[in-house]
Symmetry: C2
C-alpha cells in the first residue's frame, strides 16, 4: 500500500482569506495529483479578512474555478445550513478527486450588530454586547446543530515499531563520501529495519540522494515537487500517524518552509529535515543555492535538534539518532566529498561533541563542524610544524551543543576558543558556542562567512571568506 493511505479521510478547514496563501495551492495541487478522494476541505467563505474584505468577497465561483483547476471536485453550499453540510460530507469519496466544500457564510452570523460587518476580527465582546449576542442567538439555534457527523473510515494500523537495532554501516577510513550521499545511504540502509520511515523531497532527490530510498521503497516516498511549504506540511501529517517523515532538499530551500517548520516545532511534531548543499563549499552555483542561514533558522525552532556531520559515518549515525529522537530534527549535509575519519563503531549521541585532536600544552581549542573540520585538521598540521599545538573539537551536535566537551577542552587551552563554520556569522556555530560558554569566561573568536559570496571554486571561496586552514592558522597565531 502507498504511505498516502495512512493519511486519507481527513477534513481540513480553510478560511477564505487564507486561500491567498501560496501554501494552500501547493497542498491543493499535490492532493489533486495524488487523487486523494477521501480528503475534504471546507472553505469558510465569510468574505471578511482581518483588516478588510477579501479580494473575492462572496464570489464562490472564483474559488470554484481555482480548486477545479487544481484537480478538485467542488460543492457550493450555504454554510449555515447544517443539513446541507452533512449531506455533502456524506458524499465524500465519490470519484477520484479531493472534495472542496465552498461554504458561503456570514462572520458573526445571527448577531445583528456583528453579522457581515468589518472591525470585529479577534475582538472580544463587552459584557453587554455578549448578553445581547446570546439573546439574539438563542431563538435561532437550529436543531441540526449537534447532529452527529459520521466518523472518518477506520484507517489500517500502520507498523510503527522503532527498530531494536540498525543494520551495520560499511565505510573504510579514508573513503571519500559526501555527507549528503551518506544521508541517502542511511535512508536506504534503514528503510527495511524501520518501517516508520517515509521520505519526501522537493524535486532534488538526485542531489540530496533521497532517490536511493525512493527507488527501493517507492510506496514510502513522496515527490512533493518544488513546493517546500507543503512538503513540510505533508511530513507533519505523516508524523501524526506515527510515521517518521524525513524531508530533504537543498538547505537554502528549506527557508521557504520556515513557518511550517516553526509550527511543527510548536506542535512537537516528529518531523526530520535534511538540508544539503550548505555553505560556500558548494562552489560555483552561487549564493542563492548556498545554505548559509539554515543553522540560524533551525536553531531558533523551539525544541529542535540540529546535527551537522563531517563524514559519512557521522552522517549515518546521526540519521539513526534522528530516528530514535522524537521531535523536529535537522541534518545539515555538504556537497563536497570528504574522507571518512571515524571508525564505524564510533557513537554520535545527540548533544555530544568529539575531541578529534588534543595534547598537553595546546594553545587554542578550535571548534569546527562539517567541511571546516577538515580545514581545522589541515591547520593543526601546519601549526604543529610551527610548534603550536591546538585542540580540535567536532561540534556535530549544534543544538543541543556538546557544551561540556567544548568547555573542558577550552579550559585546558587557557579558555581560548576559535570557532570556524561554513555559515554566516549570525546565529550559527560561533554564536551557539559563544552564547552557551561565554558566561563561564571562555573567549570565543568566530570565523564565519561575512559578506555576500559569489560563484567560485569551493577552495577559493573558503579562502576568500577566511574559513579555510590558512585563515585558521592566521587566527591562532594572532592569539597564541
Amino acid at each position: 500500500m502507498s504511505a498516502w493511505e495512512w493519511l486519507s479521510a481527513r477534513d481540513v478547514l480553510l478560511g477564505d482569506g487564507e486561500c491567498a496563501e501560496g501554501s494552500v495551492w501547493e497542498a491543493a495541487s499535490l492532493a489533486g495529483i495524488k487523487q486523494l478522494n477521501n480528503l475534504v476541505a471546507i472553505v469558510d467563505v465569510n468574505r471578511l479578512g482581518q483588516s478588510e474584505p477579501t479580494a473575492f468577497g462572496h464570489d464562490l465561483d472564483t474559488y470554484k474555478r481555482r480548486f477545479e483547476a487544481f484537480g478538485w471536485r467542488t460543492e457550493e453550499i450555504d454554510g449555515h445550513d447544517i443539513e446541507e453540510v452533512l449531506e455533502v460530507l456524506a458524499a465524500v469519496g465519490l470519484g477520484s478527486q479531493p472534495l472542496v466544500i465552498l461554504a458561503k457564510t456570514y462572520k458573526g452570523a445571527g448577531i445583528s450588530f456583528i453579522q457581515d460587518k468589518e472591525g470585529w476580527h479577534g475582538k472580544p465582546l463587552s459584557k453587554d454586547e455578549a448578553a445581547r449576542a446570546i439573546a439574539e442567538l438563542q431563538p435561532g439555534a437550529k436543531s441540526g446543530i449537534g447532529a452527529p457527523i459520521p466518523a472518518p473510515s477506520q484507517l489500517p494500523a500502520p507498523d510503527n515499531q522503532a527498530p531494536a537495532a540498525f543494520p551495520p554501516i560499511n565505510y573504510k577510513l579514508g573513503d571519500a563520501v559526501a555527507t549528503r550521499e551518506a544521508f541517502g545511504n542511511a535512508l536506504l540502509r534503514l528503510g527495511d529495519a524501520d518501517k516508520r520511515i517515509v521520505a519526501l523531497d522537493g524535486d532534488t532527490k538526485n542531489s540530496t540522494y533521497s532517490e536511493k530510498f525512493a527507488k527501493k521503497f517507492p510506496e514510502r516516498f513522496t515527490e512533493c515537487f518544488i513546493a517546500e511549504q507543503n512538503m513540510v506540511g505533508v511530513a507533519t501529517g505523516f508524523s501524526t500517524r506515527g510515521k517518521v517523515p524525513i524531508a530533504s532538499t537543498f538547505a537554502c530551500f528549506l527557508t521557504r518552509a520556515f513557518d511550517q517548520i516553526r509550527v511543527a516545532g510548536i506542535s512537537t511534531a516528529n518531523v526530520k529535515l535534511a538540508g544539503s548543499h550548505v555553505g560556500v563549499s558548494i562552489g560555483e552555483d552561487g549564493p542563492s543555492q548556498m545554505g548559509l542561514e539554515d543553522l540560524a533558522m533551525m536553531r531558533s525552532v523551539v525544541g529542535s535538534v540540529v546535527l551537522y556531520p563531517a563524514d559519512a559515518v557521522a552522517a549515518e549515525k546521526l540519521v539513526e539518532q534522528m530516528l530514535l529522537h522524537k521531535g523536529v530534527s535537522y541534518l545539515r549535509t555538504s556537497r563536497p566529498k570528504t574522507p571518512v575519519i571515524y571508525p564505524v563503531s564510533e557513537q554520535f549521541p545527540i548533544g555530544g561533541a568529539k575531541v578529534v585532536r588534543q595534547a598537553a600544552g595546546d594553545k587554542v581549542t578550535i571548534v569546527a563542524a562539517g567541511v571546516t573540520l577538515y580545514e581545522a585538521i589541515k591547520a593543526a598540521d601546519i601549526l604543529k610544524n610551527q610548534g603550536v599545538g591546538v585542540t580540535i573539537i567536532d561540534a556535530y551536535s549544534i543544538k543541543p551543543l556538546g557544551s561540556d566537551v567544548i568547555r573542558t577542552a577550552a579550559q585546558a587551552t587557557n579558555n581560548v576558543v576559535v570557532t570556524v563554520e561554513d555559515h554566516y556569522a549570525e546565529g550559527g556555530l560561533g554564536d551557539a558556542v559563544a552564547g552557551e560558554l561565554s558566561a563561564t569566561g571562555i573567549k570565543v573568536h568566530k570565523l564565519a562567512v561575512r559578506g555576500l559570496p559569489r560563484s567560485g571554486k569551493p577552495e577559493e571561496l573558503l579562502a576568500k571568506f577566511e574559513i579555510d586552514s590558512d585563515a585558521i592558522v592566521r587566527k591562532v597565531n594572532s592569539l597564541a
Copy 2:
C-alpha cells in the same frame, strides 16, 4: 497615479516545475486582482524537473486552466518558434488581464542526445559532447533568433528623492504608546516628506498600524492579502524602481517569506520590513502568533540591518534611519503600550546603543531591548534598594550591534553582562552580544525564552520564561 504603474510592463520567465511553488500563485492572484495587463509571464513548459518529469508534463491545458482561474489571459505557443513568441509578445496590453504565454518546449532542443531526456539538469557537457551538440545545432539555427524584441513601454520617472529633513515627532515623556503604533505614526508622518515610500501589508494593517498610511496615501499602499512571500517579492520589485517599500505584518508571519527576504539580501534590494507582535509579551494569542524566531532569521540575512525600538520615539527615529539606509532592514515592534522614555531630540543611529542607567560601582551591565528594557529598569530599582547598582544598555540596534557602547559599559562592571530578550535563546540578542563580545573576555549571561510558550497574560509569560524584572534581579544577585 497608483504606485503599481511604476511596476508595469515587465516580463517574467517561469519554469514549469517552478509553478508547483505556492509563491507563484500568490503572485498570480494579486496580478489578476490588480489587472496588470502589461505583465507578461512566459512559462517554459519543457516537462522536465530536476529529478523527474513534472506532474503535468506537456499538458499545457492544466497550466491554462490554473492561470485563467487566477485571472490571467493565456496563449499557448510553440516555444521554439521565435516568430510565434514575437507575435504574442506584441499583443501585450490587450484587455485588462495579465498575460501568460505557455510555451511548449523541449529541454536541450535540437541536440539529439539531450533533447527531452532526463538526467541532464545542471550537468555540464564533456568536450566531445559539446562539440557534437554545437555541430547539431548549427544547421538548424533559425534566422528568427536575434530578432529584436520590442522594448517595454517607457515608464514615467518616479520622484525618488530622499527628503532633506523629516517632519518633527510629537510625544511627551511618559506617553503610553505601543512601538507598533509608533511605526504606523511614522509612516503617516513621513509619507508626505518622502515620496519614495510605498507601504505593503498582509491583511494585518489594523494591527501593524500601517493602515494609518493606507488611509492617507491609498495610491501608495498595497494590500497583499495573506500572502507574505509575494508581499516581499512585490516590495523587492518596488525597490528596483527606486521606491522604498515598507512591508509589515506580524513578525512570525514573515517567516513565510524567509527565502524571499534572503534573496532580497543577496540582491542588495532596498527592502524594509516591519514585524509586530513579537515575543511572549503579546500574551493570550499563543505561540503560533508570537515572533520568537525573527531576530535569528533577520540577523542571518546577508547585509541586513535589525532594529528593535523600546519606545515610540525610538520607533519613529528608527523608521527614519531605515529610510536613509540602503538595504534590507527590519524593524521589530511590540504589542503592549510602553511609556516614552526618550526625548524627541534623541538620535538613534544604526549600530548604536543607549546607556540608560549607569553609575560608578555598578556590578553588572544589563543589555535589553524592546519590552525587556522596562523590565531591566524595574529590576534596577529593586536592586538599588538592595544596594546593588547595575548599568542598563538599550540595544536598539541588534545588527549591527552597538558593540563599543556595550563593551565599554561591560568593562566598567567587571566584564559581566546579562542579556534579556523576548525571543528564543538561539540567534537573538544574547547570541549577538556573546558572539561579538566574548572574544574580549566579556562574560555574557543570557535570559531568553526557553521552551514552548502557551497562552497567558503578558506579565505571567514574562515571569514564567524568566525575562521579567524579578528574573533579572535573581540573575544579578547570583552574579554580583
